[in-house]
């Protein structure tokens, strides 16, 4: 008698079916998204309070905090924002992209909970020890600055927790493939998150190599720790951590473009290639933190800071056209084909996901990207190192870019994952604009101050009571005031975000999401099949994205101008080699 193979049973998992997307939502994944998102928002609030106090202190005319508390809160603000807020949100994103978008089950959910507890414990530990005044070392903790051992331990716990969650993400996707929960390639958003997760492994391992010896040194067990070594390894952790944010943010951009206008990637091959360029080359760029350090040679510095001939920058430039292009094509399919920009003018500007997407892209690219590549040029760094131009740059990337994109996405998670109706919709519609304008002023104020020589991480630019007097140009008072005013506007935008999120989550009954868009009355383009001309060929037709092409070339022109301006500035300084 022939024996036929019995079909292998696919393990069942507890899920609910989302009425708006028809996706299978694993209940464990959903719970973990919720708890990580909540931790993210709490960290953002803490960091935001710090931001308010810090901005009102660096705004020299107000000078709110005394010096010791300024330096203390600056340390806490760095950790709460760059580590806690961002990474908690990204871990939530990993559960979303790894399980839910693939209709798959989350494997080993208990491990997910364990990782969350480690991350939460680390966050609490670091904040408490810093606020107790035992770790006034800045988030960078440059050896020989020494903090209490619990500071290093807190960071290590957080990193280990995050690493476990990343491992769980890879395992979930692998099992999903084996169990054939999805066919073919993963969606682009998941692909981008995989890129982020791969970078995260390198990042977190480097963090361990930096912080574990530092921990033992702080305990006195390790007698000496070379400061140059620590800087190098710290930035092997510190900058790739930002590249994780970059890859995650780009994934969120594609997600928001899909959710709000039904955009699909112009060319999957190109967008995926761009993510691969990130994985291969982006970590080389960490060397831009060491460009004016004693030790490494020109060849080492120039090669690394160029991300291998700027190939990782090319990855970003690819997305810079692909995403606006995809939005334009989606809009043109709906009939907005007049002129070069009707598609943009007639965009859903009241939909918070759309406005946060566009503002995030513009500020990240035109301010963050341009300034970053410029000051990351080996010689130009001489003008910028440790001045306020540095925070001016990274507030444009991490805050105006990543944080705003994440805020935009949160508004959709509330009906889809928290299953609450979004309240205060008007506030949500305005929030990205307020936050964006505020952060633009913050970056302009900081960069303007840094161009005049104002240092970062410093309490008093008038150097009052210093043994030798020193003065910076008087215009720094103006640029710092611009920064301060921008900060107040941005913080108001942050408070609006918190209000919308907390009001929606905590008041009102549980309501199943019926559609994907929040404010727009029309049906969701992705799911409801309402895009006319969906299969019409783009080539040589009115659907071609000429507006996006004009925009990227304008961006390139601005990039070139800013970049050349900086070489000209450098040429005016002393001769030095």
């Amino acid at each position: 008698m022939a024996v036929t193979a019995l079909p292998r049973a696919i393990p069942a998992f507890q899920f609910r079916t989302c009425p708006a997307t028809t996706l299978k939502v694993d209940v464990n994944a959903e719970r973990l998204i919720i708890v990580n998102a909540v931790a993210a928002v709490v960290s953002l609030a803490l960091g935001g309070l710090g931001a308010l106090l810090l901005a009102l202190t660096r705004w020299q005319a107000i000078h709110l905090l005394p010096p010791d508390w300024f330096y203390r809160i600056l340390t806490a603000h760095g950790f709460d924002m760059l580590v806690a807020w961002i990474v908690f949100f990204e871990i939530a994103g990993l559960y979303f992209g790894g399980a839910i978008l693939l209709n798959a089950r989350l494997i080993l959910p208990k491990l997910g909970w364990f990782s969350f507890i480690l991350m939460a414990a680390g966050t609490v530990l670091v904040n408490v020890i810093v606020l107790l005044g035992q770790a006034d070392v800045m988030f960078t903790a440059y050896v020989p600055l020494k903090a209490h051992p619990l500071f290093y331990l807190g960071v290590i716990l957080f990193a280990v927790g995050a690493l476990i969650a990343v491992g769980l993400f890879f395992a979930t996707i692998t099992v999903a493939k084996i169990e054939r929960r999805y066919e073919g390639s993963v969606p682009l958003v998941t692909y981008g998150l995989i890129a982020a997760a791969i970078i995260a492994v390198y990042t977190l391992l480097s963090g361990a190599i930096a912080f574990v010896p530092a921990f033992f040194w702080s305990l006195g067990i390790l007698p000496e720790l070379d400061p140059g070594f620590f800087r190098n390894i710290f930035w092997s952790f510190g900058h790739p951590a930002q590249q994780i944010n970059l890859a995650a943010m780009v994934s969120v951009w594609y997600a928001l473009a899909a959710l709000t206008v039904g955009a699909v990637p112009l060319n999957e091959k190109l967008s995926r290639l761009a993510f691969v360029l990130y994985i291969l080359f982006i970590n080389l760029g960490s060397a831009h933190h060491l460009l004016t350090d004693p030790g490494p040679s020109f060849l080492w510095k120039a090669t690394n800071t160029s991300y291998a001939m700027y190939l990782a920058v090319l990855g970003s430039m690819i997305h810079a056209f692909s995403i606006p292009g995809a939005i334009e094509v989606a809009q043109r399919r709906k009939g907005f084909t007049r002129g070069a920009f009707e598609w943009l003018r007639k965009g859903p500007w009241r939909e918070p996901g759309f406005s946060s997407l566009v503002i995030s892209m513009i500020l990240f690219g035109w301010v963050g990207g341009v300034t970053g590549v410029t000051i990351g040029t080996e010689q130009i760094n001489l003008l910028a190192h440790n001045t306020l131009r540095i925070p001016g740059h990274f507030h444009a990337t991490v805050v105006s870019g990543t944080t705003l994109a994440f805020m935009g996405l949160t508004y959709y998670l509330i009906p889809l994952i928290f299953r609450k109706e979004l309240k205060l919709k008007k506030l949500a519609s305005w929030q990205p604009y307020l936050f964006g304008v505020g952060m633009l002023l913050v970056s302009i104020g900081m960069i303007g101050s840094g161009l005049q020589g104002a240092p970062r991480r410093q309490w008093d630019i008038t150097f009052t009571n210093a043994p030798l007097s020193a003065t910076l140009p008087g215009a720094t008072q103006i640029t710092l005031a611009i920064m301060g005013i921008g900060a107040l506007i941005a913080i108001a935008g942050g408070v609006m975000y918190l209000l919308v999120v907390l009001t929606s989550v905590f008041t009102g009954p549980r309501v199943e999401a019926k559609r994907l868009t929040l404010v727009m009355a029309q049906a969701n383009p992705l799911v409801d099949d309402v895009i006319p001309n969906m299969n019409k060929e783009v080539h040589g037709s009115k659907l071609q994205p000429r507006g996006a092409l004009i925009l990227v070339f304008a961006f390139l022109a601005f990039f070139m101008a800013y970049y050349l301006f900086n070489w000209w500035l450098l040429g005016r300084a002393w001769i030095i080699r």
Partner: protein, 173 residues
């Protein structure tokens, strides 16, 4: 967010191709600028570095200051070394020691190191910035191009006196 089409390996649209080529050329331009300036430009990042014990560096600096001292300001010696010589500047909590007097158009080998924590050498105006690390003697070959009084401020956090940490370089004609 949707699953992609089964076969997503498609040829590029001509807009994408043009943009890709232009962007790639720009990346090559960015890459080439650095070695070009290294060879032809006058402002480059110093690379000469020696390992040094802080106590040793302090000794050498004291000897240097004593040898070329020409005056004092705020309790700090003003030191005027001859052109083409080794000049020493210590960063320590919370001052840049000593005050230097240099001549415009002349070249000096400026040795930078710290006796305690990391500091940030920031020359203002000019806005030239270098990291100063204990245990490392970082040598910058400099030629002041304009006379005047320059401040050295510290732009690496070095605890509570960080914003009081200043220095001075006087450049005579």
């Amino acid at each position: 967010m949707l699953a992609p089409q089964r076969v997503w390996w498609k040829p590029l649209h001509r807009f994408e191709k043009s943009w890709l080529i232009v962007a790639f050329v720009f990346c090559i331009f960015l890459t080439v600028m650095m070695p070009l300036w290294y060879l032809l430009g006058h402002q480059n990042v110093p690379a000469t570095t020696y390992r040094v014990e802080p106590a040793e560096f302090a000794q050498v600096t004291e000897a240097f200051a004593a040898k070329y001292k020409i005056g004092e300001v705020s309790g700090l010696p003003i030191v005027a070394p001859p052109p083409n010589s080794d000049v020493y500047l210590i960063g320590k909590r919370w001052v840049w020691y000593p005050v230097l007097q240099l001549q415009k158009g002349q070249t000096y080998r400026l040795h930078l190191s710290s006796l305690d924590l990391q500091h940030g050498f920031s020359l203002q105006p000019n806005n030239l910035n270098l990291q100063v690390v204990p245990g490392y003697d970082y040598v910058a070959t400099i030629t002041p191009t304009q006379a005047g009084e320059y401040s050295v401020i510290c732009n690496e956090f070095c605890q509570i006196g960080h914003h009081l940490m200043t220095g001075r370089i006087i450049v005579t004609d």
